[in-house]
Chain length 348, copies 2
DNA sequence: TGTTAGCACTTGAAGGTTATGAGTGCTAAA
DNA sequence: TTTAGCACTCATAACCTTCAAGTGCTAACA
C-alpha cells in the first residue's frame, strides 16, 4: 500500500511524463508538487516506488518514467482525480455526430475518424452486432444488358447489394424462380446458416434454373459475407507515425496489416475487466507482440436489441490516460444516444 | 551531342546509381564498362558530362549521380537498350488479371494493387471515362421498414445503389410517380446535366410527391456523384515509406492527402508528350512541389467507345526506369485486352 | 590530340575524447 | 523523518583524428 505522498508523486510522474515525454527528476517534482519537502526526500520516495516496480530509470542517472505497472496503478487508483471532459471537447463530440446519416456504417465510420481527430491517436469502431442476424429480404432487379442487381436485407436493417452478370438467354421467369427459391428456403434463417447452405444444398437447387450458377452464387456469397461480418472502421492510421518509432518501415507495415485485420483487432479489443466503462490495456496486456509499446482503450456501447459494438483508441503507452479515457467514455454515451435515435425510426 | 563513350558512361552511372543508391566513381565505372581505358580518362569524360548538366556530385570529392536532366537524357535516348520485360514478370501480369470480375472497379482496383506489388512503388489507376456518360436507368426498390434502395445505371454500364429512409406515410404509388418522373425527365441525359437539374427544377417537382424530399434528393445526388466521378484507386501507399525520406511525419501525411485527391492526381498524370506509350515525368516536371523528388510514369489505355483511362507509377527519381517503363507498358496492354474482353460481354 | 600515371587535396563517415548538465544514491547531521 | 552535501553516472553535444573513396590537375607519353 502506498502512502498518500507516494501516490501524489507517482501521479505527478505519470502526468509530467505523458505530457513532456522526458524522464522526471526529483527537482522537477518539488516544483510541480507544491509540497514543502526537499528533493532528497522525494528521491527517497522515488527509490521506494522503484522497488515497488511502479517507476523505472532509462539509465543509471536519469530521472524516472512510469513502468507499465506504474501506468496500471495510475489508471486503477489515481486517474479519477484528473478525469474531466472539457466543454470544448464535449461540444466537438456532439457536433461530430450531429449530421444525418443514411446508414449505420456511416455513423460508425465517422465515429472512428472523429475519435482519431479528437485524440490524435488511432481509433477503431466496430458496428453493433446482435448475435444472430437473420436474412429478412431478398430481391433480384434486372438492369438490362445482362446485368442483375442482387439485394439482401437483414433483420438488423442492413442492406447489401451487388451486381452480377447473367447469360443473355436467362429469362425473367428464371430470375423470379430464384427469388422464390431464396424466399422460401433462406429468408428467415440466420446468416450463418445461409452461408453454410450456400456451400451445400443450394447450388444444386439453383442449377435447376440457371445453367451457369457460379456468378450468382459468388455474388450472393460475397454480399452475405459483407452483411455477416461485423464491419469495422479505422480512423487516423497515419497518426501512428506520430507516436511510433519509425526506425524500420516493416514494423509500420506490419502494424497497418494488423489494423486491417478484423478478427485480430476484435479479439484484442474484448475488455478484460468489464465492470468499468472504459477498459484499458497497457503494453503487454494486449495480446499481440506488435503492440507491446502501445495502449488500447476500449468502450462497449449497447443499443438494446440491435446488439452492442465497440469503439477503441490505440495510442502509445505514454498516452494521456485521463483525457483519453474521458473522451472515449463521453463519445460512447453520445454514440449510444445517436444510434438509439437512429434505430427508433425503423423500429416503429 | 554526346560521344558514344559519354553515352555509355552516362548510362552506366544511371544504372549503377538506381541499383545501388551510391554515387558512382571513376574506378567503379572502369570495372563496369569493360572498356580498356583508365580511370583518369573516365574522369575527364565525367567532367564534360557534368558541364553538360547531366550528372552531379553530392559533395566536392564524391562520385557522380545523375541529375534530373541526366535521367531525362537516359529516358529519352538511352533506356531502350535496357528495356525488357522478364518472362516471370510477364506471367505475373497475366496471372494478376486472370480472375473473373463482376465490376470494372474491381479490375481497376486490383490493377493498382498488382502494379504496386510488381514495382514496389506506389501505383495509381483511373477508370476508363468516356466524355459524356448518360443516365440510362433508374429504379426505386422498397425494402420494408421505411427503407428504399435507389439504383441508377449509366450507359457505360456502371451501377450505383444507395439506400435512404422515407416517412412511413409514403405510399408505393408515390414512389412509382417519382420513378416515372425521373425516367421521363432525366433518363437519357448526361450525368452532368442531371446533377445540375437536381439543384434547380427537380426539387420542386419531387416535392409534389414527397412531403420531405431532402432524403431522396441527397441520396440521388450522392449516387450520381459517385457514378460521375472518374473513380481512381491507389495501391501500395505504404511503399512510400521505402523510398521517401521520412524525416518528418507531416510530409508523409501531406503526400497521403495528395494521393487521395482525385483531381490533383488526375491533372498531374496527364501525359506531357503523348507520342510515347509511357509518359515519364521526372522530379520538377511533375506539377506539384511535394513530388519534386519523385518520378511519375503514366500510361493511357483505350477501350474504344468505353473511353480511356490511365495507370501510373509513382516512385523515387532514382527508380529503375527501364524495368518500370517496361512493366507499365506491358500491363497497359494486358489491361486493355482484359477490359475489351469484359465489355464485349455487355455490348452484344 | 587523346590517354595515362601520379599526386595533392577534399569530403563524409566512423571512432575517440572531452566537457557539460541533469540526475542519482549515500552519508551524516538536524 | 528530513535534509544538505557530495561523489558518481550517464547521455548528449562538440570537437578532433583517421580512413577510404574520390576528384582535379599536371606532366609525360603514344
Amino acid at each position: 500500500m502506498l502512502t498518500d505522498r507516494q501516490k501524489l508523486i507517482l501521479q505527478a510522474i505519470v502526468l509530467a511524463y505523458t505530457e513532456t515525454g522526458h524522464a522526471v527528476g526529483s527537482k522537477k517534482l518539488v516544483e510541480m508538487l507544491k509540497i514543502t519537502v526537499s528533493s532528497a526526500t522525494i528521491r527517497n520516495e522515488m527509490a521506494t516506488l522503484e522497488e515497488f516496480g511502479l517507476i523505472q530509470k532509462e539509465h543509471t542517472s536519469s530521472g524516472r518514467i512510469p513502468s507499465l505497472a506504474g501506468y496500471r496503478y495510475y489508471v486503477d487508483h489515481l486517474k479519477h482525480r484528473d478525469i474531466l471532459v472539457g466543454k470544448n471537447d464535449m461540444s466537438l463530440i456532439r457536433q461530430s455526430l450531429d449530421g444525418s446519416y443514411a446508414k449505420v456504417d456511416e455513423i460508425i465510420a465517422s465515429s472512428a475518424n472523429m475519435l482519431s481527430q479528437l485524440t490524435s491517436y488511432t481509433a477503431l469502431a466496430i458496428k453493433p452486432e446482435s448475435g444472430d442476424v437473420k436474412l429478412s429480404g431478398f430481391r433480384l432487379v434486372p438492369l438490362g444488358n445482362h446485368q442483375v442487381l442482387a439485394i439482401l436485407v437483414t433483420d438488423s436493417g442492413e442492406v447489401e447489394s451487388q451486381q452480377f452478370a447473367i447469360n443473355k438467354d436467362v429469362s425473367g421467369d428464371q430470375l423470379e424462380a430464384i427469388v422464390r427459391l431464396v424466399n422460401e428456403q433462406l429468408v428467415g434463417q440466420s446468416l450463418r446458416i445461409v452461408l453454410q447452405r450456400l456451400l451445400t444444398d443450394i447450388p444444386t437447387q439453383i442449377a435447376q434454373y440457371l445453367s451457369t450458377p457460379d456468378g450468382f452464387l459468388q455474388t450472393f456469397g460475397q454480399a452475405l459475407d459483407r452483411a455477416a461480418s461485423d464491419q469495422f472502421f479505422v480512423g487516423g492510421r497515419l497518426n501512428l507515425l506520430d507516436f511510433s518509432s519509425i526506425d524500420n518501415p516493416t514494423t509500420l507495415k506490419d502494424l497497418y496489416q494488423l489494423l486491417s485485420n478484423k478478427t485480430d483487432m476484435h479479439d484484442m479489443m474484448i475488455p478484460s475487466q468489464d465492470n468499468t466503462e472504459v477498459s484499458v490495456k497497457i503494453g503487454d496486456e494486449i495480446a499481440n507482440d506488435l503492440l507491446k509499446d502501445y495502449s488500447l482503450l476500449t468502450a462497449t456501447y449497447d443499443v438494446g436489441n440491435h446488439g452492442r459494438g465497440m469503439i477503441a483508441i490505440l495510442g502509445p503507452t505514454r498516452m494521456s490516460y485521463s483525457r483519453t479515457i474521458g473522451l472515449l467514455g463521453a463519445f460512447r454515451q453520445e454514440l449510444t444516444n445517436k444510434l438509439i435515435n437512429y434505430y427508433q425510426f425503423y423500429d416503429e
